[in-house]
Symmetry: D2
Subunit: 279 residues, 4 copies
């Protein structure tokens, strides 16, 4: 029932092992990585297959710290409720929380990084060399978004209306490490010029500046959300650890369940296709 055929080949530069050795990214895991490579550094290395410099690691870890935990976010509540319901599966509680890392709550980082990158690419190499030049690009960018009735990703915050403290701090760290590149430059310029266009001053939010910083680090844009998820994984383990000792999930569940009000069904029928006939 079997027959000769061509053996498939699956290539990877990540983990590999033989009888005596385990390698990771071409290095001896035990001798060259364990004990000398930090976890943030390793995560960067795994994602890019190049070892980051100490400065890159510092900026990267500052981003991860900025995104690790924001208290009782939907992701945190979901992880705690899932643990309440299925305490036999830590991996399920963690996975459930991460599944909230989509477009609305954790997506800003990726959206901002991609948005800034698209603007930069549209310059076709004519990258500004001073603040005035960046302000010009930013002004055009904000005007175009406004004309298209679109938001500028990374602009605005529902709590930190007068400024998100993570933003100047991350910019400072990136500057200290010589990693304040074009994405952060454009983002900062958007912060300076948008009030003239929008008629109000909005904060550059922390999720957005993280996206700009990750893009300046040269990390793959399709995975920016992945780094936000990695940071959140650490935060969710913190949430689980706290839930184990000081549980709130049962109270959250009961606050919903006990305030439940049964209402009559509201049968759904789609809008009729004829609706537009008057148009």
């Amino acid at each position: 029932m079997t027959e000769p055929h061509t053996r498939p080949v699956y290539r990877t530069a990540l983990g590999a092992s033989d009888l005596k050795t385990i390698t990771l990214l071409g290095h001896d895991l035990a001798e060259d990585i364990m004990g000398s490579v930090g976890f943030g550094e390793l995560a960067f290395w795994l994602a890019t297959q190049r070892r980051p410099s100490p400065g890159e690691t510092r900026v990267f870890e500052a981003v991860l710290a900025a995104l690790a935990d924001h208290g009782f976010t939907p992701t945190a509540i979901v992880t705690r409720l899932t643990y309440l319901s299925a305490p036999d599966s830590i991996q399920g509680a963690l996975a459930a929380g991460l599944l909230g890392g989509g477009s609305r709550f954790l997506g800003v980082t990726e959206d901002t990084g991609r948005f800034l990158h698209d603007v930069l690419e549209s310059l076709r190499g004519a990258v500004p060399s001073d603040e005035a030049g960046w302000d010009e690009v930013a002004l055009r960018t904000v005007q175009e978004q406004r004309a298209a009735a679109k938001f500028v990703p990374g602009l605005g915050h529902h709590v930190h209306k007068a400024g998100d403290p993570r933003t100047p701090r991350l910019m400072q760290i990136a500057t200290e490490e010589g990693l304040f590149g074009p994405h952060l430059s454009l983002f900062a310029a958007i912060g300076r010029v948008h009030p003239d266009v929008l008629g109000k001053t909005l904060p550059l939010n922390g999720a957005g500046v993280c996206g700009a910083a990750l893009a300046d680090l040269g990390l793959p844009l399709p995975l920016l959300r992945g780094f936000a998820l990695l940071a959140r994984a650490a935060g969710l383990i913190g949430q689980l650890a706290e839930e184990l000792r000081h549980p709130v999930a049962r109270d959250v569940f009961l606050s919903v369940d006990l305030n439940n009000t049964s209402v009559a069904p509201d049968p759904f029928t789609p809008d009729p296709l004829e609706e537009g006939r008057t148009g």
Copy 2:
């Protein structure tokens, strides 16, 4: 870089297709299944690779109905919160909700089915033929659990203290279809005899009777939880559909977030190993 080797073979009796035909479980999907096999019937068939009788299908679908939705359970809240946070991924919201289907909330069905089955197997074929015989087995069973300081799965309910309405109904349906087998017989007997042992009357709960009925249907015990999850998948799609039109997730989230109180860290250190020294 490739070389001849033995081709692997992966066998399945489920879906298969060639240029003109699609088969499922050895039948022509389009001609023999679509339009004539109901969804509950198909789910049973897929899980057992045998087509259920109409009576088996009726009992099975009654179980699925009993387990589909219980209002604002943790699973329902989780699905709604995940949709709030990541509306781009319906599959993520559904998966997150199902991950709560673990030992505590959806596990009773499986636990009860397995527990009853273990008792039945311990009879080594001496299966009672009348109610008095079942009462004797049940009495011994409840006594042994009590002696071991263990609960009897499926016994007790935090709301339906005077009786879970699903229990007599499912027993009635199983009786009507000639499918009231040993698991349901033992479960019913436990309901009759436990007050004498425990000194109080507890209801046989709906999740438990579903486990007994699924076991009497001959479904694989390691998958009983899977059927609870299938039922819940339909319920969670209902929750999502309602959330789209009458959202509550944002209110749930805010009720937690706005009532958050920041407290000082409570550093964790494990209990010292010396603790037992006095023992």
Copy 3:
């Protein structure tokens, strides 16, 4: 540390219970639903809060059958591998499989339903009343997609190049039940006219016709993918049941692991922004 405040209210028409009764969708679960409502019918009812007619149920269940299982799809392999790796968590194996229900493999159903609906809405009520009228709309639709270098969702199949057997069968069932509505009409017309525009004949695929049929049933468009996921949940439980008795996951894992080839890291750096300068 607590203070009076306004009690939140969470409304639902789905499951509710009190001491003696459990209701679902405003009906007594035990008396009115268990034993008389099939699982497909119930899933439809939960999603729309209206009870479907027998004809609607038949079309709906035909769709679910069409989508339940396609053999060793990525979702099936993922569920089996996750079970291999974490056999303690059936819910994790099921959830992992469903997470593959995204844009590429299970998304066609939703994409097709939405696409057809958008075209129908653009008619602003001028819905054709005969086949010639539909052909005209379909011709324009295919031409516009081609001009925009876009695919027509639901058109084409990598195996069933000469026709997907589910398509005529589902159209036949919908016709029998008087539920062959505008979405199916437009889809069928696309099947008739596209060769003239594209210069080749492609099959109308099963996932696509399912999307058209679900849209004609008046189900909520943002949840069409949800029904594909529900169908697949039944299929994945079938995959798990087969894996328990006739496992293949370990062989799949080893076929990858044993054919792994370690390669040198390929350091990632993003394309330089200057690239476009020559443009």
Copy 4:
């Protein structure tokens, strides 16, 4: 429809924010954590609510490095296949992979930590102070496991039969940092004495030594698996990054799909209860 009631209070020491400040674990996130706390250090801090020493961080990060990626494990394959099937949802691909972090593949770390801890607790404070004392405890432990026909968690490896290189390295790092505590002592002793009991020499595996080291760090035992999952999250992002540039998932999928063989259904019926009658 609302009424006064007691406001719920949800306490957390993790993230909190007001108009101007964001705190994490009681510290100013921007000023005190970003730029000065590494990611591994932060993850430890979040899980225990106490800041680890540099030595604790080094051991912890060595563990995370040891567990981050092992090439084409089921978790890695699952993440890649889920991305193939649903490229719109990075969070889904990551979550699906983590769901494989259950009892079999990632559970050894937790199982070993718990097992060693149980043995240590059973000593009721009589913790050995030299190698001979540990050998005695270890000998009794291995003998008891053997008598009970149970494995010793952390002992044995399917590839590194002559020794897992991570084990001596992690022991060395823990020794250097003064963190070679009772769990590692007992584990090392098991390595020394088991051949006398079992009649063969098995390696102390890397997952096991990681569990011992995490337990010696005083991390919460119920979350040991959580740290393995955190490490794996970084590895899975590496897998995704590689899949984006050098994909293998489609080949894996096709290698299964194209080698699929359709077989006849194998109807499942449970073993008859009468089977034991002869007993």
